[in-house]
Symmetry: C2
Subunit: 617 residues, 2 copies
């Protein structure tokens, strides 16, 4: 049976649809989301919540000329379906398929590839301003949680003095972040909605200008709240705004998970759904016997420590679930802070807490901690504040792709003085590192991946007790040395075992620390091996390899033995974690290939040097 | 004659002063500022504006227990004088003297060393929360411009749901940033003050709770506006707030430059004053015949381009004067945007403009661009948006010290793919690089120092025309190669000339690009010289030296010839630029020393190798 959605090749096809057909279209889109998501995994509730809004937007605006920016863009599935990607949607978030976020390379209707929150207003304002002679609109759709971000708030302050731009800011208010929205702004939106119930529906003429005091205090024209699931009235109010031709904030109330009973009921759980297990994707298959995600091990270690350390406090930036901290909060509600999507504030706030003697752990994904780089510089590094940074999702995350991969954390943290950097090779080491960092009272970053840790009974025996700035040598061999850390220690060991079968004996070092770097170890392996490979799930620009090269060069050692293996100077796209590790050459099999290739190149080189030297004689 | 100020050894001495003595104390403090600043240089108007407020704060609170955070802390001079540093104030901002900002190592009354805006509320909230069992207050003093910063806005959203903390946020509203304050928030504060004039003075009981809608919409208790120059009423209102024991925003109106006729009249000019010229501080002596600051050359180049390129638009984040862009704005008011202290928004906004085809230059100091790292990641690097980043104040800035030095920009920009990085060796090259970056339509960062450019008639002849990713070799010599860029090219040339006198001949390469790196050049100099030194005014962690090491290692070249010269893995303190360059080993004299030392060490080593080889036989 042909659905209405099947007849939509692009937004132009929306013009001819009747009111009933538009309703049917909304149902078709919902059906597709419910059909594909359990298979591919992805953002479920968020996309279900904006079906009507997306249809109305594409009906009223022409986003081939006007520009649409969907904040975070995790709610982009209806938009993708309406812009020629309904068929491709079957393959969303799989390697080679469409990304889970907007991506300009897929469609001219996508303005930006992004998934970090809060920048939609800034960019929409820039676009509106840039098109001021072309009569195009900049339209931003932003959730009541994303709008908490400093960059979004900065944009509102700036946009407030530019009332004549064709800027439409749609506040998609569903009272949810991934978790329930926190903070004073969310409360203000709720109060606005309650007040509005008493004074009747808004219209595009700004009948409710006396509401939305936060926006009006900044000089914005405020319209709302309007029902985000009534296509007809959405089309009407959007048309009026467009007609009005000036900057407007439109407050739209939506229900996350709309149309899916379970998702509406448990919005937290259904924010995103995991896809079907793929055979072979062991990297994230948490259900293999005895394996537990690092995230769980982290929060278990936190809870154990909190029970004996009354000064332990912890911070999440809108990720109580993703970081595991909601379990901590359940037991210690007064010692866990959720700042909302406000990483800059979270780190400065952490520094304030630490200043008073609290033992503070800020748990923020590697890629989102980028948003607090200047606070890492000033409040942590410059002031040597002993905050512990738990950098979850370091390295390749899989289906979320380039925006979520944590590939730059070593480089950006290492640029700043005084912050120690560790990475555990397994669960026991994570526990020990966390406790050591807290005991040392030094600013420290600990990175761990979105992956299952090795099962406890399969952990390699501890060769050396954990000591500040010291590595551990897990294996000895004369032919090559591998210096790995964190997620790459076990693959390096596996690679070494395989090479041993080929007659190549490798030393394997678990670096443990990127800073302070174990210099003695480095100089020793450089002396004792003809080739030393650093192995890391991080860009080679400024990572452990670079740290070793710099140290060796500054101390005038034989750096030409060093070969850095890691991620390239490029973005890593989406796919399963296993697929992408393989593509990036970071699986044991690939490592064997790379290392043996380097060894045979060296053999060839010394052979030809031998010959050329012989020629000389 | 003994002044009242002379009798103040610490805040405890304030308690015994009469009302008249407090007034005299304010005068004494002003006299000291007016006496010392013309000699040492520093923030003039900001400190004059908070004299009464600072006295009142130290009278009411006990900041040995309570914690005071002065945002940016450029207004800290009265605070320093009242906390035992009146004598030391004579040496403020000079090498070895007190810093121009708060610094915990100087006094227990200083909470943080900082000067980047906006984090005072977050840290004060963290402190208040951390002291919840000790009954201590967290007090933040923040200007009407700093409060624009995303991090400050995030903090307000978070603090709005924590009404029971002992947090006092003092909005120091003088309607000025360095330049006049911009943006919707500043307008709102003005409107609030105008409305307040009609309803009489505020008291600490929150009589004016119906004002300050921005704060009240976020759930804050708002008190104000109050006269920030009336010590008596300030003491009264602060005492009431303290008594009240709950989170409060206190809106204080002050006059920047208060008590100094000229400074009150021209607040922009008198925000900060330059110190007396020091003999020998040639690095920043802009008045030497024919020399012009890079900043001026940048804006001249921008204006020349804008006259023929109608799509050129430019952005500053509250620094129209410091970046030179106020001259651009005078000629092209519609094409220059001042976002206020909102670097994250500035970069995302720039990306939006660039998306519509505008040629966009964002001029932000190297150290402040750190605040937009995540936007560089997402809106610029990931989306390859052709924004040109003019990174002024790259390297050592001098008296402003650690918070203002731009020592990390290469490292943090280079961690992200796709952004080209250039640095000009003089004014002509800056002009050419700016135009090339705009013509190429690629995301590009151009760094230049807070210094005078070489006089045009003293510029070295262009050896090779500027080409994308290509270097220029200025000098040939067989003994050693020096690869420098930007501010270090001329010192490297000078060092080479000196060494030539010692019989050592050096090749000198102007790298021009850190990315894309001129690989052919690198491989060639590595082949042709026994020692290759990279020279940069940047930390060696992840700078050009690291880039060369990584490239050589990845292509398996002789990296052991490479020796990186640059700034250490530590913060550089305040002093004149010349003093600090000398201390860091980056003057021609120091370079000669370092390089000749390396050469003689190499000679010793090969000598001993020769001997040890001989031993073997």
């Amino acid at each position: 049976m042909t659905t209405v959605l099947d007849r939509i090749d692009g937004p132009d096809d929306l013009g001819g649809l009747s009111g009933d057909e538009l309703l049917q279209l909304a149902d078709d889109i919902r059906d597709r989301i419910v059909e594909v998501m359990p298979r591919n995994g992805g953002h479920f509730g968020s996309s279900l919540g904006v079906v009507e809004l997306t249809i109305a937007l594409h009906r009223v605006f022409d986003f081939a000329v006007d520009r649409l920016t969907l904040d975070v863009s995790h709610q982009c599935y209806p938009h993708k379906m309406l812009t020629g990607r309904n068929e491709a949607y079957n393959h969303i978030r799989t390697k080679g398929g469409p990304a889970g976020y907007t991506r300009p390379s897929e469609s001219r209707y996508d303005s930006f590839l992004w998934a970090h929150a809060g920048t939609s207003i800034s960019t929409a304002l820039g676009m509106a301003r840039g098109m001021r002679d072309k009569d195009g609109w900049g339209v931003a759709v932003i959730g009541d949680s994303s709008i908490n971000s400093g960059v979004a708030l900065e944009a509102l302050v700036h946009a407030g003095v530019m009332p004549d731009e064709k800027l439409l800011i749609i506040l998609n208010d569903n009272n949810m972040s991934i978790a329930p929205t926190v903070g004073a702004l969310s409360r203000h939106f709720q109060e606005t909605c309650e007040a509005a119930e008493e004074c009747g529906p808004a219209d595009g003429e700004g009948a409710n200008d006396h509401l939305g005091g936060f926006f009006t205090s900044l000089g914005h024209r405020y319209v709302g709240p309007v029902d985000g699931h009534n296509i007809e009235s959405l089309i009407e109010v959007l048309s009026q705004v467009r007609e009005g031709g000036r900057s407007t904030v439109l407050h739209v109330q939506t229900v996350k998970g709309r149309g899916h009973i379970e998702a509406e009921k448990d919005q937290w759980k259904w924010h995103a759904v995991g896809g079907a297990k793929k055979p072979g994707d062991e990297a994230v298959d948490f259900e293999r016997v005895g394996q537990t995600p690092y995230t769980d091990l982290f929060v278990q270690a936190m809870i154990r420590r909190a029970r004996i350390d009354p000064d332990l406090e912890t911070i999440t930036a809108a990720m109580p679930c993703g970081t595991g901290l909601r379990h901590f909060a359940a037991e210690f509600p007064d010692r866990c802070y959720d700042t909302g999507i406000a990483e800059s504030h979270a780190i400065a706030f952490a520094a304030g807490l630490a200043h008073t003697g609290k033992n503070v752990v800020a748990a923020i994904y590697s890629t989102f901690l980028q948003r607090a780089y200047d606070q890492l510089f000033q409040e942590i590094s410059l002031n040597q504040n002993p905050v512990v940074l738990a950098m979850d999702r370091a390295g390749i995350v899989g289906p979320d792709g380039a925006t979520h991969n944590g590939c730059f954390d070593i480089a950006y943290v290492r640029s700043l003085p005084h912050i120690a950097i560790m990475a555990p090779r397994d669960g026991s080491e994570l526990d020990d590192m966390l406790n050591m960092a807290l005991d040392e009272k030094k600013p420290t970053a600990i990175r761990y991946p979105r992956a299952a840790a090795p099962a406890p009974d399969r952990e390699y025996t501890r060769e050396t007790p954990l000591a500040w700035g010291r590595s551990e040598t897990l294996r000895h061999g004369a032919d090559v040395a591998l210096i790995a850390y964190g997620s790459m220690v076990y693959p390096a060991m596996e690679a070494a075992e395989t090479m041993s079968g080929l007659g190549i004996e490798a030393t394997v070092v678990n670096a443990r620390f990127v800073r302070p770097l174990d210099r003695d170890m480095l100089h020793k392996v450089l002396e004792e091996h003809p080739l030393v490979c650093t192995i890391e799930e991080h860009t080679t620009n400024g990572g452990l390899g670079a740290a070793c090269l710099e140290e060796a060069a500054l101390s005038r050692r034989a750096t030409d033995k060093l070969f850095p293996i890691g991620l390239p100077d490029a973005f890593v796209e989406h796919g399963t974690r296993t697929e992408m590790l393989e593509e990036m050459g970071l699986t044991p099999r690939c490592l064997v290939q790379t290392i043996t290739h380097q060894l045979s190149e060296m053999a060839k080189r010394s052979q030809s040097e031998f010959i050329s030297e012989a020629d000389t004689y």
